[in-house]
């Protein structure tokens, strides 16, 4: 438990917004804003300023609909999601996440919910009637799925998967999307539906409680129930409801749901799209196609959006859920890990791993463990546990000074598992999902004698305790 007692996690998106407003982490915009890039430009600038989430209440062409943007793109908002005070420190947020996610709480199914106040089906479906921004100039379309929960199901095991994947409007009844092919949804589609030439039922959920969104973005293993994880993160069961057209289940507190199917034999142009790496990379236009059959939403829905790019929601939620998952992976691999940090400045390409015992062998072990089914991290720093992994200044200092440029760098080529969005990959590498990851041994060699390891020239390391105490006790009297 953290220094301050954790409160209850927000029960739905609207209560989350109220909590954020009270902590100064939500800005409300009442002036009319155009969905065609103006809204995206405002949101992007605010993200880069580490500013609050934004609630746009008046959107051109869409009276009665509003948009909640960048729900968890700062650590403050991640803290509120977990019921912590907004000023909680990053290690405290990790600690609280680990405490909550280790106690799964199964969901409770309900029969009705506010997200069914409006139901549109069949030929009346027109996704363009939902306030969907053209976020960045040059994107391939209007992205409706950015801060969303995408639900699909393994037809053989019955496992219902919640994930967060991008989807854009292609036309009135079609969305084109790009779940990373080795993602859970990508694998289920390619292994279980396409070979049988069957459409895959799918639901795209917007504006659910933040715990459910956090669970959907987590790097959990195949078969783990994200609805139960959401319950664990929330500290109470999440109410789920069944789709109208399939047996998929999703958070009943959602604002809006699109039900449909991924077609096994039809495609459309998807992307490009400026994403979490902070670039629009051009990932070869090889996506999937969803036919939307039903739209349900609350009256006056508050839709949700992640204004993707540098330091977006993906960066924070991956740093949190992904960081914990990486730690577990490393523990299973036998790495003496003491902490993991995926800083948002590294855009899910940089992973910092603290270890109690380092050296090249351990660094290689870390590299191998983090380059399996998916290779998101292209740079991995393995640091001694005397380095505060959450302090980037300390980490860069250690990297620059302790890592031997020749002996301390290990590079591994990957084929088929690389992230096609990684900006430094060329087009040919993207199409093969080929790339590389580099691990840097930022630790003192275990073979070195302790008495010969360089001593940090820092206040806390190079002065006797009595001198430090005297200096600290008299600090103000020096005139500072």
């Amino acid at each position: 438990m953290t220094a301050e007692k954790a409160n209850e996690a927000p029960k739905d998106q609207r209560s989350f917004m109220e909590t954020l407003q009270r902590s100064g982490d939500l800005a409300v915009v009442d002036r009319e804003v155009h969905w065609d890039m103006e809204l995206g430009a405002i949101s992007r600038r605010m993200t880069e300023m580490d500013g609050p989430a934004i609630w746009f209440r008046k959107i051109t062409d869409y009276p009665g609909q509003s948009l909640f943007v960048n729900p968890i793109s700062t650590w403050r908002r991640a803290a509120v999601t977990l019921g912590l005070p907004a000023h909680a420190r990053i290690p405290e947020i990790y600690e609280e996440y680990i405490r909550r996610e280790s106690h799964l709480i199964p969901p409770v199914e309900v029969k009705d919910s506010a997200c069914r106040e409006v139901v549109i089906r069949g030929k009346d479906v027109d996704v363009c009637n939902l306030a969907t921004p053209m976020i960045h100039d040059g994107d391939g379309g209007r992205y409706i799925g950015t801060w969303c929960i995408v639900v699909c199901k393994d037809p053989d095991t019955g496992w219902v998967n919640w994930g967060t994947y991008r989807f854009m409007i292609h036309n009135t009844q079609y969305l084109a999307g790009w779940p990373f092919p080795p993602s859970h949804a990508g694998k289920i589609l390619q292994e279980k539906y396409v070979p049988r030439n069957k459409p895959m039922p799918i639901a795209i959920v917007m504006g659910a409680d933040p715990s459910s969104h956090l669970a959907a973005t987590s790097s959990t293993r195949i078969g783990r129930d994200e609805a139960s994880l959401a319950g664990g993160l929330a500290g109470r069961p999440i109410e789920i409801i069944r789709c109208l057209d399939s047996d998929l289940t999703f958070p009943a507190n959602a604002e809006c749901v699109l039900e449909g199917e991924i077609l096994p034999d039809r495609i459309a142009h998807e992307g490009p799209y400026a994403e979490y790496p902070g670039y629009r990379s051009g990932e070869m236009g090889a996506g999937i196609l969803m036919k939307v059959n039903t739209i349900t939403h609350r009256k006056n829905p508050v839709l949700s959006m992640d204004c993707t790019g540098f330091k977006d929601c993906s960066s924070i939620v991956t740093a949190l859920g992904g960081g914990v998952a990486v730690r577990r992976t490393l523990e299973r691999a036998g790495v003496p890990v003491t902490g993991v940090y995926i800083p948002s400045e590294g855009a899910v390409h940089l992973c910092i791993v603290g270890v109690s015992r380092g050296g090249r062998e351990v660094t290689e072990q870390v590299l191998n463990a983090l380059t399996g089914r998916r290779t998101y991290f292209t740079k991995i720093l393995v640091v001694d546990d005397d380095v505060d992994i959450f302090n980037l200044g300390e980490v860069i200092h250690a990297w620059a000074t302790r890592c031997h440029s020749e002996r301390g760098t290990i590079i591994k080529h990957v084929e088929g598992s690389a992230q096609a969005l990684t900006p430094c990959y060329d087009m040919e590498e993207r199409s093969r999902r080929a790339g590389a990851a580099a691990a840097f041994d930022v630790t003192w060699p275990p073979s070195w004698d302790r008495t010969e390891i360089p001593v940090k020239a820092r206040f806390d390391a190079t002065f006797p305790a009595e001198v430090k105490k005297k200096v600290l006790d008299n600090w103000k009297s020096y005139g500072f």
Binding site: P181, I267, P272
Partner: protein
């Protein structure tokens, strides 16, 4: 009317060629950017630019060619096209 399309290489488009593209309608309003597939004729002749629809072309990373094309829709090919999920849309369009 004005449209836009992302293409793999600007140099693949040539004067008077017929090509299959995903075209997005730029008419202002709620249906702006809706896409469909069409076989089109492209030209940068003064007549085409003055009298045909206008097509703005963007690269695979969304950089716009500052010089538009005149575009004539020769054949509407529908909203979606045949293909397996995750197959390369550019290769599929080129075969149509």
């Amino acid at each position: 009317m004005e449209y836009e399309s992302h293409v793999k290489h600007f140099k693949d488009l040539q004067e008077n060629m017929l090509v299959v593209l995903t075209i997005r309608d730029l008419t202002p309003g709620k249906h702006k950017y809706n896409a469909r597939v069409a076989r089109v004729q492209l030209s940068r002749s003064p007549e085409a630019l003055a009298n045909w629809d206008k097509l703005w072309v963007l690269s695979v990373v969304g950089i716009q060619d500052p010089q538009p094309w005149g575009m004539k829709i020769v054949e509407e090919l529908g909203i979606t096209i045949p293909g397996k999920p995750y197959s390369d849309i550019y290769e599929t369009l080129a075969k149509m």
